[in-house]
Point group: C2
Chain length 476, copies 2
């Protein structure tokens, strides 16, 4: 039976101005986690959230995480843990978001003051954190409030976990999630994260997969110190010569990874999957626009989406230790470290991929016949994540999208990583859904970040509707 | 007839302490040309030199060079032009040196205060500029003074050109040399520059050749801005992929340049030249020590010296625009600029070399089949220089070395460039001699720069003796 949502929706429409004011208050707090001097603002933002939640009747804890690693005396902002409802007859859903933001200064090129929410005549609400992730976080609070004002029963018990260090590596969070999996989060039956974006600007999506990332360094060293290329050029084996030859052997211009043992691990494309991509709302024009150029590897949508979501890729990021400034310097760098990473997909193994990478690079280096010293090692790695989009958590979200937006959502993956997703899945053992509020043009992390008023208001309805449908999904 | 030098030598030995005090005063002035804030000290050093020269009876001019390019309001330090003697019956010799120094701070790792000349029990005189180039510059002044005190006739008319921007690209100097070639420098019959070093620590040398340098940039660009490798990896052609493949195609581990049309321009080795290298005082141990490793391309002295002096080399210096910091960043850089240079030798042409480089890189890039944009261009170039070591200027210097040091000098070239050498040769049309005072372990540009007391005192004798022998060489 379809849930009764009209009263809730009407209340949301009525209170839209109030929700925008709430977002304005949140945006006004410059909770930049990357800047230690802004730490008091991050903490203030956590307290603002806690106060709002308490006013709504939630039980709230501000969990300290200790000092920031490498910054003795600088305390990490607290994690806001909250529970709204404790009815044994209702499902319990755990939602995650973050209340910190990326750095922003007007002088970076913003058209408006980044911490002063500014709504233009197209309904675009500009402000740092509007879409990433203060809008979605407040979405949950607004949904609770709308139920209260409309005199409606809230359909689930809601557990909330809002952190303040997401834009700086979520320091301290993983340990807390693992520690609370069987405590604070013990009765969570599914997880929902609203911290990503639609693939385009018109069609909502549900996200069920993310690529992993293995990040590598290749270090080549020879001389005891940097040398002058006039004095030593032609007489010494140069680490940069070796390193550029190694980096040049990893991948070709069309993205084909040259390392044996990588593609062999990738799940074959099934006939069922083949048909998935055609219906996705995405055009080559979209990617050309995002790139700011037409330098795509493929000319068709399907190959492009598959390359982004379900095939591995290899990117060379840069070199540490070489001359990197503008101008000219005639140095022979003594020790150089090339950085590259492999985006991983099912069913690639982290360790198996490492072994393939190490073996290949060692073989390539041996071919050079160099007296220099080469080391290749993993800097960090994170596993890919793919959830079952057939789980009731996704079915409920799909029904909510159809009800709110009048269209079926695209089921998408993403090429990047949101490491907390996998942490929640592994720690709780529950299905995790990524349910985006904003769209692809919101410019999270960029200047002029915005959230469309439409996406905010309909997004509040979507989060609430999702919880109603979740409540009605059959037990499995 | 061998010149009478005993009286001069005795005077130098007697006054050694006084010369060291003069060097101490000069080292105490931190005339760092690279640091605009130190400009008054550089100017003060020029004035110190001018005052000392005037006290010796030289006519002196401080020639202004206008503002430093790119630094409006920051005047370049003056060139000290001086003449000592104006006797039509004597030869006129032009000498060059510089009174500015490299940056230095004790905290860089100096064992002593860099601007406080400190003499240890082995007679090593530590201080910034001791060997590069204040010691040699004062050598000329000390030689004049010793003649005066010993009541000896000075054997030549001495023209002096001492600049204050050598360590920062000799800004403004080339124009002055060209402008004064037929004016202030009009009667110069040969040029002598004391601003380089012995090949080792025991055997003096005369230097008659330098390699040139063509410095290149390869710029590859694609996307409009840096991209996230999670979102775009596998779908966009990455400039770093193309650039590392191009850089990796330039030269192999053993220094073999892969660009056709470079080696073809190199003068063949003559049988006469073949025999030159065996007698040079240099061992593989010397280069292993300078390198701080055994990662040499060759295992024998002759190949190593030829590779340094008379063959071209190609070094890759670094990449601008890529990730170059420690740590990990998952960026796809949008525009990257690879930097490399080719050291040039007789009879390579700058333009011919450029054309070979451009053609090769354009061909390699075409093979990649990339949609990215590639540009290759020359950043700067300087021609190689080789003088005739059979000129009377060199013969005189060789006799002076034998008289002072009791051994015949090695005739050497160097792998690096001293651009002013070629400027003097081309502007005056006269033979240029490089007559070093210090030794290979002096550490010019490094921490703990020093000049051995022996090299300073015998060096003063050498500069004076050279002028006496020059006076006696037959007219040609």
């Amino acid at each position: 039976m379809a849930p009764q949502l009209d009263g809730f929706f009407k209340q949301v429409d009525n209170d839209a101005g109030h929700y925008i004011e709430r977002l304005r208050k949140a945006v006004a707090i410059p909770s930049i986690s990357a800047e230690p001097a802004r730490r008091p603002d991050v903490v203030r933002m956590g307290e603002f959230l806690a106060d709002e939640l308490k006013a709504l009747g939630a039980s709230v804890e501000l969990r300290p995480l200790g000092d920031q690693p490498g910054h003795p005396g600088l305390e990490l902002p607290p994690v806001v843990l909250a529970r709204y409802g404790n009815d044994k007859n209702k499902r319990t859903i755990l939602v995650y978001g973050h209340y910190d933001v990326q750095p922003a200064e007007k002088s970076d090129g913003w058209a408006t003051e980044p911490f002063d929410l500014t709504v233009d005549d197209k309904g675009r609400m500009f402000g740092r954190g509007a879409t990433d992730d203060k809008g979605p976080v407040l979405g949950w609070l607004n949904a609770i409030e709308a139920h209260q004002k409309a005199g409606l029963d809230f359909p689930v018990n809601l557990l909330m976990c809002f952190e303040g260090m997401e834009e700086y590596g979520s320091e301290g969070l993983d340990d807390l999630i693992v520690a609370e999996a069987k405590k604070y989060f013990a009765d969570a039956e599914a997880v929902c994260i609203s911290d990503n974006y639609w693939l385009g600007t018109e069609k909502p999506c549900l996200t069920y997969g993310l690529r992993g990332c293995n990040y590598y360094s290749i270090e080549v060293s020879g001389p005891g110190a940097d040398l002058h290329s006039g004095v030593f050029g032609g007489t010494a084996q140069e680490p940069m010569t070796d390193l550029t030859r190694l980096l040049g052997s990893l991948v070709d211009t069309n993205g084909k990874i040259q390392i044996p043992g990588i593609m062999e691990q990738v799940s074959p494309v099934t006939p069922e999957e083949e048909s998935l991509y055609d219906n996705i709302s995405f055009t080559m024009n979209d990617i050309h626009e995002s790139l700011g150029s037409k330098t795509t590897i493929f000319d068709d949508k399907k190959s492009t989406l598959m390359a982004r979501w379900r095939f591995p890729s290899l990117s060379i990021h840069g070199i540490e230790g070489a001359f990197s400034a503008p101008g000219a310097k005639t140095v022979i760098p003594a020790k150089v470290i090339g950085k590259f990473s492999v985006r991983t997909v099912p069913n690639m193994g982290i360790e198996k991929t490492n072994q393939a990478v190490f073996k290949y690079i060692e073989e390539q280096f041996a071919k050079l016949g160099s007296k220099n010293t080469m080391k290749v090692y993993e800097q960090h790695s994170g596993k890919w994540w793919v959830a079952s989009p057939k789980h009731w958590n996704f079915s409920a979200a799909a029904k909510a999208v159809e009800r709110v937006w009048g269209t079926q959502p695209d089921f998408t993956r993403e090429g990047g990583s949101i490491p907390v997703t996998l942490t929640f899945e592994q720690a709780t053992g529950k299905n995790v859904l990524l349910l985006p509020m904003g769209s692809s043009t919101d410019g999270a992390h960029s200047i002029n970040e915005k959230l469309d008023k439409r996406n905010y208001v309909e997004g509040i309805k979507l989060l609430g509707a999702y919880l109603h449908y979740v409540a009605e999904e059959p037990k499995v």
